[in-house]
C-alpha cells in the first residue's frame, strides 16, 4: 500500500527516561541493520525480540547505547515491518538516533501517520474510520503549518531566495528550449554549473545551521496577546513564577516576543509574551508587533488579555473576531476594579472567559485549571518541532542532492535539458518548505521575464 518507510519519535518529547524511535515500512529492517551494531553477535535478528547494542553511523561514531527490536509484518501496529529503537531520553540522544534512521532512507512521519497506516492497512476497526479521517486531515495541515513556522525569519527567507534562484535558472533553460529561435540571452552550461555551485554552498550553510542549532523544543506553543499595557507581561511572570519580562506602565515596553518554558499542572507550555498589538510609528516597536502577529499565527493556544476596567477598543474587537476559530482563553484582567467591559456574544463564547486579577491572584487558579483541561481533553496539542526541523533538514538535503546532480550532468557533457530534471526535483524539495509548485512558477517566470511568442 505504502512505498516509503517512515520514522518518528513515538514517546512524548522531553527528558523522560527513555525515548523510542519507531520505524515502519519495507525498509525498516535494512535501516536497522545499517544503524544498529551488536557486540559479538552476528546472527540474524529474530522478530519481536529485544537486542542490546549501539546506534552508530557508517564511520562507527556512536549516537547512543540502545535496545532495538524488529517486528516482522503483519503482526505489528501498522501491519508493516516495524522497528523500535529504545534510546536514552535526552534530546540529543533521541535526535541523534532519529537522524541516523532518516539518513539511511526513512522519511519523517507526518503526525498521525502510523495510525493512518494502521487504519489503511486494515488494522483499525472500521467503525472508527470517520474519526481517523478527521484526525488525518487536521494533523496533516498542522504538520505543514509547523514546518513552515519553524523556518520563519532568516532561514525561511534564505530558502525562498534559493527557490527563486532555481526558478530563474530553470526559466532561462526552459525558455531557450521552448523558444529556440528567439533572441534570448542564452544561458550557458557554465552559468548553470556556477549558479548551482553557489546554491550548494548556501544550502550547506543552512543544513549545518539546522543541524547545530537544533534543540528539542517541546510544549504547547502559547502566545499571550492583547493591546498594550493590559497586563500581558504580568500574566507571563505569574505563569513563570518569576520576574522575567519588563513590566512597566509605558505602553509598548515589550518589543520582542519572549519565549519561556513553564510547567502548568503537568502541561508543558512554551510561553511567548508578545508586544502589544497597536498601530505604531516606532520602527522597533513595529517590528515587535509584526513578530507578535506571527506568533499568533503559529501558536497552539492563545491567551488573550483584556482590561476589565475599560470598554473594549477597536483593537480588542478585531483581535477577538480574528481569532474566533482558534483555541483560546480570554483572560479579563483587573477584575478587582469596577467592570467597564461589555462583550458582545458575536465576539466570544462564554466558556472562553476567565476573570482574573493579577494583583491579588483572583481567578488565576481557574486559568491554570482551564489550560490543564484543554490539554488533557485533547483540545490543544504540542508541536513536535524536532520532527518538523528534521523534515526541513531532509528537504534541504534533497535540494542539495539535486543541485549536485546538475553539476555532474554539466561535467559529463550532457545538454542543458537534462539539468532541468534535477533542477525541478531541487525546487520541488524546497517547495515542501516554501509551498511553491514548480510548473506554475517556471511558466510564469518565462512569460514575465522573456519576450517570447509569435
Amino acid at each position: 500500500m505504502f512505498d516509503d518507510t517512515i520514522a518518528a519519535l513515538s514517546t512524548p518529547p522531553g527528558s523522560g527516561g527513555i525515548g523510542v524511535v519507531r520505524v515502519s515500512g519495507d525498509k525498516a529492517l535494512s535501516i536497522l541493520n545499517a544503524v544498529f551494531r551488536r557486540k559479538k553477535d552476528a546472527s540474524a535478528m529474530k522478530s519481536h525480540t529485544l537486542y542490546y547494542g549501539v546506534a552508530a553511523d557508517e564511520k562507527g561514531e556512536v549516537a547512543d547505547e540502545v535496545l532495538a527490536c524488529y517486528m516482522k509484518k503483519p503482526a505489528t501496529y501498522t501491519r508493516e515491518d516495524v522497528v523500535e529503537i529504545h534510546c536514552h531520553g535526552g534530546s540529543s540522544c533521541v535526535a541523534g538516533v532519529l537522524r541516523l534512521v532518516l539518513l539511511n532512507g526513512a522519511r519523517p512521519a507526518e503526525p498521525g501517520e502510523f495510525t493512518k497506516r494502521a487504519f489503511i492497512n486494515g488494522r483499525i476497526d472500521l467503525s472508527r474510520a470517520e474519526a481517523v479521517m478527521d484526525v488525518i486531515s487536521a494533523k496533516t495541515d498542522l504538520a505543514r503549518r509547523a514546518a513552515i513556522n519553524r523556518l520563519q525569519g532568516s532561514v525561511h527567507k534564505e530558502c525562498a531566495e534559493i527557490s527563486t534562484e532555481i526558478v530563474s535558472v530553470l526559466a532561462r533553460v526552459e525558455a531557450s528550449i521552448d523558444y529556440p529561435e528567439h533572441d534570448l540571452e542564452e544561458i550557458t552550461l557554465k552559468d548553470v554549473k556556477d549558479r548551482s555551485l553557489r546554491l550548494i554552498k548556501r544550502l550547506d550553510r543552512l543544513i549545518d545551521g539546522a543541524h547545530r542549532g537544533r534543540v528539542l523544543q517541546y510544549g504547547v506553543e502559547t502566545a499571550i496577546v492583547g493591546k498594550p499595557n493590559v497586563g500581558k507581561s504580568s500574566l507571563l511572570n505569574f505563569l513563570l513564577g518569576e520576574d522575567r519580562a519588563i513590566v512597566s506602565d509605558t505602553p509598548g515596553t515589550t518589543r520582542d516576543a519572549i519565549q519561556e518554558c513553564a510547567n502548568i499542572k503537568g502541561v508543558p507550555l512554551r510561553l511567548a509574551d508578545t508586544a502589544g498589538i497597536r498601530e505604531t510609528t516606532d520602527e522597533i516597536e513595529r517590528m515587535g508587533v509584526e513578530k507578535a502577529l506571527r506568533h499568533i499565527d503559529s501558536a497552539d493556544l492563545l491567551i488573550i488579555v483584556l482590561d476589565g476596567s475599560s470598554p473594549a477598543t477597536e483593537e480588542d474587537i478585531s483581535l477577538l473576531m480574528n481569532t474566533r476559530e482558534r483555541k483560546r482563553i480570554v483572560a479579563i484582567n483587573k477584575s478587582d476594579l469596577p467592570s467597564a467591559l461589555h462583550l458582545e456574544e458575536e465576539w466570544i463564547k462564554p466558556d472562553e472567559i476567565i476573570k482574573i486579577s493579577l494583583l491579588d491572584e483572583i481567578g488565576a487558579n481557574k486559568l491554570l485549571e482551564k489550560i490543564k483541561d484543554m490539554f488533557f481533553l485533547g483540545e490543544i496539542e504540542q508541536k513536535d518541532t524536532l520532527i518538523s526541523g528534521l523534515r526541513a533538514e531532509q528537504a534541504l538535503r534533497r535540494c542539495r542532492d539535486g543541485l549536485c546532480n546538475v553539476v555532474r550532468a554539466v561535467d559529463a557533457g550532457l545538454p542543458e535539458d537534462f539539468c532541468t530534471i534535477d533542477l525541478r526535483e531541487s525546487h520541488a524539495a524546497l517547495g515542501e518548505i516554501t509551498g511553491e509548485t514548480t510548473d506554475d512558477a517556471v511558466i510564469d517566470k518565462i512569460f514575465s521575464e522573456f519576450c517570447v511568442g509569435k
Partner: protein
Amino acid sequence: MTDYDVVIIGGGHAGCEAALACARMGVKTIMFVMNLDSIAMMPCNPNIGGTSKGHLVREIDALGGEMAKNIDKTFIQSRMLNTGKGPAVHSLRAQADKAAYATEMLKTLQSEPNLSLRQSEVTDISVQNGELKGVFTRSGAFTPCKAAVICVGTYMRSRCLCGDVITDVGPNGLKNAKRLSESFAKLDVSMMRFKTGTPARIDGATIDRSKMQIQPGDEVITPFSFDTDASGAQRVQVPCYLTYTNERTHRIIRQNLSRSPIYSNIIEGTGARYCPSIEDKIVRFADKDRHQVFIEPEGENTTEMYVSGMSTSMPEDVQEAMYRTVPGLENCRLTRNGYAIEYDCIDATQLTLSLEFKHIKGLFSAGQFNGSSGYEEAAAQGLVAGINAALFALKKPAMTIDRSEGYIGVLIDDLTAKGSDEPYRMMTSRAEYRLLLRQDNADLRLMPKGYAAGLVPKDRFERFEAKRESIEREIKRVGQVMATPEANAFLRSQNSAELNSGVPLRDLIKRPELDYLKLAPIDRNRPKITRDVAEQVNVRIKFEGYIKRQTEQVERFKRLEDKKLPENIDYSTISGLRIEARQKLSAAMPANIGRASRITGVSPSDTAVLLAYIKKARVQS
C-alpha cells in the same frame, strides 16, 4: 434519410481528425461545416510543428491521425529545431503551403467511404436525460446520432477587431456561428470568452529580400509521419527571412496605443501571454530596442507572406506605417490586415479525459472550443475526441492518454483537470516526464493504443512490431559484444580513453565523445538496421540513468492514477474533507486520486482523506 452514428461539427484541424478517425473506425459519420471551401484552413501562421507542437504531430501520427501525413505532402520547408540540445527536445517544424494543405486534406476526407461532408450551420444540440439525441441545422433539419464531436474553433459569437473597426465575423472574414452558444447555455455548459490575434499578410513582390537574413530549411529533411519514406520526402525548399523592428516602429506604436482595442478596453476576451501582439511586447518589454520579425511564405502559388512576430490589432493606417519601418518592408503592400479575434469557448474542466462532457453522454468536444490554441493542439484533441466518439457509438470502452504517455496526455489532463484562464499552448516545460516523451519514440509510446482502438491498420502495426523487436535485439547485442584493447587506435582517433581490458560496446556508447553510429568501425558484426532503430538504441543506452529515473517517477505517478474514485461518490458526506475541496471535487468528479490531487483547491491532506475513504469503501464492499 441516411442514418449517422457520429456527427462532427466543424471542419478545422480538430474536426478533420475527428471525422477521419470515426470513418476509419467503421462508423457512419457526417461532418457539418459552415463553408466547405474552408476545410483545414490555417487562418494564422503558415507552419505545422515547432517545439512541443512537433511532438503532438508525431503522436497524432502514431495513433493513426492525418496531420503528419498531410503536412508531409504539402510542406515547402522543414527544420528540426533544438538539435544542439538533448534528444527529448528536438522538435520538427515545417512551413506549409496553406492552399495545398487544405486541398490535400479535403481530398483525403472525400476519399473516406464512411464520411459525408455537408455545408450547413448546426444551431442546436438535442439532449434528453443527459444523453445526446442529435443536432439541428439552420433549416430546422434534425440529424439523429449516437455521438457528436464539437470542433467549432473560434467561430462562436466571434468578432474581429482592427483598431476601432469591429466586424461581426469569424477568422479570415468568414461567417461566424451565432446560435450555438445559446444551445450550450440551455445545456448548462459554462462558457468563457477568449481572445487571440494574427499579424497582417504582405505581398512578397513588394519586399526587399536583400535587407533581410535568409532562413533556409534543413539540408536533410526529416518527415513527420513514421510512414513517410525520408528519401522520397527530400525537395527544393522555399526560404523564410529574418528582420527586426526598430525604435521608429516602436515610436509609431507608442504614439497610437490609445487607438489599440486592447489598450482602449474594447476587448472583452482573455488573451494568451505566449502570443503577445507587437503592441503588447512594446508595452511590457519597453527596454528592448528591437524585436525579431520572421517573414514566412504562405504557399508556393501565392506571393502572400506572413509577418511572424508582429501580430496586431492596431488600426489599418497604423499597421501600414509600422510594418514599413522594418528593414526590407519599406515599400511593402498589405494584402490582409492583422486583427484580434474574440470568441466563446468552454471551461474544459467539464470534460473527462476522453473529452466527453461529464453531464452529457455521447457529446464530445475538441480544439479551440476547449480553450486551447494552435492547429496541433486542436488536431490532437480532435483525434482523441473522434476516437472516443466512435468507441462510444460502438459501445466500447474509452481510450485515454495520461501524462506519462504523451504530450497529448499532458494537454488533455491540464485542460480538463486544471482548466485554463488563457488560451492554452503546449510547451515542452509542461511535460514533467519529457525525457520519456520524445518525438523520436512517439510510435513506441502510442501506436499500440491506436491499434487497440481500431484506427491503426494491421499491416502498419506489424511493421511497427518488427521495429520494436529490432531495437530490443540490438540493445541486447551491444550489451554482449565486447570491445577489446584492439580498438585503442580507434579510441585514440576519437580522443577517447584507451582500454586495458574488454568492455561491452554499450559502455563505450555511454561515453560523451562517442555514440552508437561512431562505433561502427570497431563493431564488425553489426546487423543492418534502419536509422530509426539506431537512434533508439543510441538514446536508450546513452541516457539510461536519466531514463530510469524518469521511469521511476512515472511509476510513482501511476500509483495514484490507478486508485479509481467511484463515479457516484458524494463528497459532501466525506468527513475530513475541507469545504473548498468538497466543492471542487463535486464539480470536477475526478476519475482517480491522481487527477483529484491536481485540481486547484485540493490539498495534500484532502488527498490523504480520499485515500483513506476509498480503502474503507473497498473493505466494506
